[in-house]
Amino acid sequence: MDLNTIWFLLVGVLITGYAVLDGFDLGVGVLYLFARSEEERRIYLNAIGPVWDGNEVWLLTGGGALFAAFPIVYATVFSAFYLAMMLVVVALIARAVSFEFRGKLQGPGWKRLWNGCFGLGSLVAALLYGVAVANLVRGIPLDEVGTFSGSFIGLLNPFALLCGITGLAMFTMQGAAYMALKTEGELQGRMQAWTVRGWTAFVTLYAVVTLATVFAAPHVFAGIAAKPLFWILLLAFAAAAVIVPIGSRAARYGRAFLASSLSIVSLVGLVAVGMFPRLVASSVDLAFSLTIYNSASTPRTQTAMLVIALIGMPLVLAYSAYVYMVFKGKVVFDDASY
């Protein structure tokens, strides 16, 4: 395996980590829009309070790793998606500050403002990630030197919007599966229902997206049946998809959450297998696509970064796991709570 492939995997791991971990934060934010009382809202916020910030770091580190390993992709995609990127950042800012601001003053108008920021910020971000991935898969107009000639409106094509909604359903399922672990009684019952609802929407949309991809991005399927990894991931996805509703209905919430997470991991994996070795498809000519070879940094940089990742990431996983252990179980309020 060459360095470029290793970095393809590592960036993929960071994106997957983000999708699984901040995935439930985003889902919790979406479900927050349906919360019925002030106390419920506080349960939502405190369910992710101690961990959401660390989860978001997966995105920032993913951005940094992309810059370090595939700078041409970082430069091309982020400038091409300019307005969309700005929208995502505004959504993430709105979400991030609402935790802290919301509880600092009383008054219904104040609370409503930050409730809206948290819920809508999560919703917009959850929707746009799918839109972004869809465009990278389907292809954006890149010429032979990798210059982008599209527009913001062009990014909002039907295929991309379909993928956006699929992502939203996936994050909602993940958020509900997480919340079922953190809640009790009637609220937990509703989270169980949302898990199944999100799952139904996700699996249905996933089938539609797969079909649409045959037409929108046929290159994804070229030669894929010969790759063993494709079949493994497909099986993993199918198994996860079966376990989510069964586990949730049987009140095995831990199992349902793990299955939901596995479905996200395998979905990201399937997209990656379909794309490899491309990172960004060109809709002008597939030959103009940005790949892990024509957009990479030098082997020296990729080697140095690999050493950094091998030292750093095991530590990150170890202390993150410890913090999750400390805060596991149902939400209890104390004077540190939001």
Binding site: G49, P50, V51, D53, G54, E56, V57, L60, T61, G62, G63, G64, A65, L66, F67, A68, A69, P71, I72, Y74, A75, V77, F78, S79, Y82, L83, M85, M86, V89, V90, L92, I93, A96, V97, E100, F101, K104, L105, T147, F148, S149, F152, S297, T298, R300, T301, A304, M305, I308, A309, G312, M313, V316, Y319, S320, V323, V326, F327, D334, A336
Partner: protein
Amino acid sequence: MDPVILSRIQFAITAGFHFIFPPITIGLAWLLVYVEGRAWRSRDPVYERTGKLFGKLLGFTFAVGVATGILLEFQFGTNWARYSKFVGDIFGAPLAAEGIFAFFLESTFLGLYLFGRGRVPKPVHWFSILMVAVGSVISAFWILVANSWQQTPAGFAIRNGRAELESFWAAVFNPSTLPRFFHTIVATLLVGAFVMAGIAAYRLLKNGADEIGRCALKLAVPWGLVTAILVVFPFGHWHAQQVAETQPEKFAAIEGLYTSQRGAPLVLFGLVHVEPPELRAKLEVPGLLSLMAFGDPQAPIRGIDEFPADEVPPLWITFVSFHNMVILGLLFIALTSWGVVKLWRKRLVESRRYLRLLLWSVPLPVIACQFGWVAAEVGRQPWIVYHLLRTGDAHSLTVGTGEVLFSILTFGLIYLFLGALWVYLMIKEAGHGLEPAIGQEVMA
């Protein structure tokens, strides 16, 4: 309007606004390492309450810092695509290292610190604030590595139309990394000391018996003196010497040296006249600049006249921001020395005039940081990477003027709103748990 200017304005607004918060969190985190350590070892309830109050303020400020930092991770790609392509082989690595070594550490342990009080054993709780503090310094290190490489690039070769890495360590420890790192880190500690001292003063002005205020004030004022001295000498001095050595145009601009000369004077004050470059109403000490920069009062120093006109940074803003930073730096030493004398004479807490001065001084070190940053980054112009790539050749060609204008307005408004709320809520939270002073009760 020119898309380069617009992208520069956006970068200045977003990075400048973000840079208000990390110095406060780094500075407070280290003070909290001490406070929480005392709370744990001595079981002193006053330290515990002090830790709790400043811990909450840290958490709040950290959140705004994180929120305003998100854009910065992506902005090199969105607005400076040609820059990102040119430096990507070198500049991305420190950003990724910052994420892996610092962001995870800070964020994860801050959650444990804020929510783990009473849930995890005391040593673990103390360890969590220590890791927040360590993480914040590692974060500062890597982002300053990236910034320093723009100022004094090293460890690379130009190949395939871009800067390619030759030596990782030479790039990381390029000539300006260490001077900049130490100067900046000590500045953040000073910011933390002033924020803590100001909040303590605020509480003591409301109630002279407030124990949290007394505890915090007695810690922050001496710490302020130590850091105020260190930020100027040796670290500020060292950093300036390095600039004289490695970026002579910038040095000439910030010091106001417009003609090359032996025995260059140190300008204490002057009014900059740009065209032709000259200083009016100036007050200077002969030979001192040469002495300070190169250890010899007769050493020759190159002035602005020696450089091509299109390689000279803007003269007015660099001179003004650098000199204001230095004046503020000296003021901090005076202010904290006065406080330490008062503390020694056991009159610190009672001196309402001094407390009021401390309260109004809270923004000053933050402003000094902004001045320093402006002097450093405007002083680098017209280069985005010193002597390698011009700022005018670095922005994204595919992003239109309208798009950048739109994002400037969006972020400008959001940040104005966030900044105002943050100040208001910090003041409100700073008075948390204050009991009304006995005398005031009688008056009411």
